[in-house]
């Protein structure tokens, strides 16, 4: 297990390096000089940047400066905001995105397991039909539509009751977080529900559940000890990609709900072509996602004895 952990960590580091290099090369292939034009007219910013990145030096040298900075955890300075460190931007805005994301992941995972198990137990009966219809909707409706419709509904509900049930946009209190987290987790929850359902169905038909029945165990014990635990395993394996989906989905939800998260900042940077912020946040997000996947895989290994003991 330790060897496996080490191997995964090394793989992860190589992947992050690959992402950093790809980002660097991509940004240096942007047509034209990133400092030209109206974007960095401010002479002070320009001078700062040139000194920092050695923009007058050859590409290889720039690359080593860039990687060196990254190794020191320095993502550079914003192109559009004078003397604003990308590190500061991340430090300021990422906790907001992380809070929203964690809420959404918890919501999606709990909901997915619960609804999935329920539909499998009530297979082909009314609860199954209703939930699976909602799940298909959840998978087919893009997150921005959920966000917009959620907001629209909330506006109308607030108007209907004449009081503010929940704030429509913004950030700060728990009440600000509920609707965005719900909206953000919706698609993933639908996906996990489907996965949990098929996993449960497979296990309900498995030989070892038949054995458990032959042992005369009560249905509740079979459900908790034999079905649920085994059915959750595949759900855990996809939590890594689910976290990635929720993180990128956050870009849109933050935009719609005017939440000051890193995602919204990233989208703005992309729209303004703020190259250092794009590079910095891409590498940061990339590293975050790569290591989340590793954490989830290790968690899975710890839970599944077949992996843990080999």
């Amino acid at each position: 297990m330790w060897k496996y952990t080490l191997k995964r960590l090394i793989q992860g580091i190589i992947t992050v390096w690959f992402i950093a290099t790809a980002t660097f090369l991509a940004m240096h292939n942007v047509p034209g000089d990133p400092l030209s034009g109206q974007r960095a007219t401010n002479a002070a910013i320009r001078a700062n940047l040139e000194a920092k990145y050695g923009l007058d030096k050859p590409l290889t040298e720039q690359y080593f400066i860039y990687i060196g900075n990254l190794l020191q955890g320095d993502f550079g300075i914003s192109f559009t905001q004078q003397n604003r460190q990308v590190n500061d931007i991340i430090r300021e805005h990422f906790p907001v995105s992380a809070t929203l994301g964690i809420l959404a992941v918890i919501f999606a995972a709990l909901g997915g397991v619960l609804w999935g198990a329920l539909t499998a137990l009530y297979r082909n009966r009314l609860p199954d039909t209703i939930i699976m219809f909602l799940v298909i909707l959840g998978i087919s409706v893009p997150s921005f539509v959920f966000a917009a419709l959620g907001q629209l509904t909330l506006v109308n509900l607030n108007a209907l009751f004449g009081i503010s049930l929940l704030p429509v946009a913004g950030w700060g209190t728990v009440s600000h977080m509920l609707l965005p987290a719900l909206v953000l987790g919706m698609g993933t929850m639908a996906y996990l529900t489907r996965l949990m359902r098929s996993s449960m169905l497979e296990i309900i038909h498995s030989d070892y559940v038949r054995t458990a029945k032959a042992k005369g165990l009560p249905a509740a014990r079979i459900f908790t000890r034999h079905q649920l635990r085994n059915a959750i395993l595949p759900v855990i394996t996809v939590l890594g990609p689910a976290i990635a989906a929720i993180t990128t989905g956050g870009f849109v939800v933050e935009l719609v709900f005017a939440i000051p998260g890193l995602g919204r900042y990233f989208v703005q940077a992309v729209q303004q072509l703020d190259y250092t912020v794009i590079m910095g946040t891409t590498v940061f997000y990339g590293a975050f996602l790569v290591f989340m996947v590793i954490v989830v895989d290790l968690l899975y290994g710890w839970i599944d004895p077949r992996v843990r003991l080999q």
């Binding site: 458990a212 005369g216 395993l233």
Partner: protein
């Protein structure tokens, strides 16, 4: 004679499938005596596994359906019981082991925990007591280093070891009947013999009865006291192992014997396969299910289902050849002492 331990009569099971309704078991009768072994023999798809799964309440419903019949354990009906008493019968009174031990154990629970479960549920043992008993049971089924093994997971066991663990689990509550559904089919030949010996020894020690499902006549000869031969969802011949082997009364039993290799020195006879394949149970035949493949079929066989006709004490065959009006002239068929 004591009343039988288990008496099954006219058991019928159907399955709804994509292609239609399969009448998998079409009226099965047999009895199991206390402490004895009944072997149920037949080729794949003849309904032998479905029969015992119905007894254990393991038929998935839907798509399965028990259409009728009864199964009495010491005179108490056990068929179709989903209640608490039904669970008490399963696991406590009747233990069961399956064909593929690799997939029949929960991969994420230790062997010890899985053996301990029935004890906790049916006997009210604490977890500690049940685990201690699980280790004893593993020793009983001759697993070395039982204490260490009990803490391991199924993937750390070999196939033979898993089947021993399955047996330990099935006998944990000292059942009066053990159902073994093709217990050795998935195992190596050398392991098969060990498992069969183990079952025999355990039977001698505990006095439990065994229903052994198999398609291997060698296993039958080695293990069984009584035999029921199944074909197309019905028992076509039943009797003691000697009756069925040496005084076969049904052409199908005869066919099975001729298809089995022997190691007699002077045997020059060729292996004789049974031509054709079993009938389609989506639309079961009107007459005898074996009629299309039977070399001795008569007109009546195609139109009337044969009823069981006794040929000797506790030995019957479901075959028109034994009818009083039939010629009684087929070579190899045993017609009872009066006719031979």
């Amino acid at each position: 004679m004591n009343p039988p331990l288990l008496e099954v009569s006219n058991l019928q099971v159907e399955f709804d499938t994509y292609g239609g309704t399969v009448k998998a078991v079409r009226g099965v009768d047999f009895t199991v005596e206390e402490g004895r072994t009944l072997a149920i023999v037949g080729e794949s798809g003849c309904g032998k596994s479905v029969t015992v799964q119905a007894l254990m309440g393991l038929i998935p419903m839907p798509p399965g359906r028990i259409m009728g019949g009864s199964a009495k354990l010491r005179g108490i009906e056990i068929l179709g019981r989903k209640t608490v008493e039904g669970r008490e019968v399963r696991g406590a009174e009747i233990g069961m082991i399956f064909q593929d031990p690799m997939s029949s154990l929960n991969p994420t629970m230790t062997i010890g925990d899985q053996i301990a479960e029935p004890l906790q549920v049916h006997r009210g043992y604490s977890h500690r007591q049940a685990m201690a008993r699980a280790v004893e049971l593993l020793e009983l089924v001759r697993i070395p280093e039982a204490a260490r093994r009990a803490a391991q997971y199924p993937f750390e066991f070999s196939g033979g070891m898993l089947q021993r663990a399955m047996i330990a689990m099935a006998i944990s509550c000292k059942p009066t009947l053990l159902i073994a559904d093709e217990p050795t089919t998935a195992l190596d030949v050398t392991i098969q013999a060990q498992i069969l010996d183990l079952l025999k020894d355990l039977q001698a020690e505990t006095g439990m009865a065994i229903i052994l499902i198999t398609h291997d006549l060698g296993v039958v000869a080695r293990m069984a006291d009584a035999v029921a031969v199944m074909y197309a969802g019905k028992v076509v011949e039943a009797g003691s192992v000697d009756d069925v082997f040496y005084r076969s009364s049904h052409p199908y039993t005869l066919g099975l014997k001729q298809a089995m290799p022997t190691n007699k020195r002077d045997a020059v006879q060729k292996l004789m396969p049974i031509e054709g394949s079993p009938p389609d149970l989506f639309a079961p035949p009107v007459g005898c299910g074996y009629c299309p493949r039977c070399p001795h079929a008569m007109s009546v066989c195609a139109t009337q289902p044969p009823l069981p006709i006794p040929v000797a004490d506790a030995h019957y065959a479901r075959c028109w050849l034994h009818h009083a009006q039939a010629p009684h002239s087929v070579p190899g068929i045993y017609y009872g002492d009066g006719h031979d």
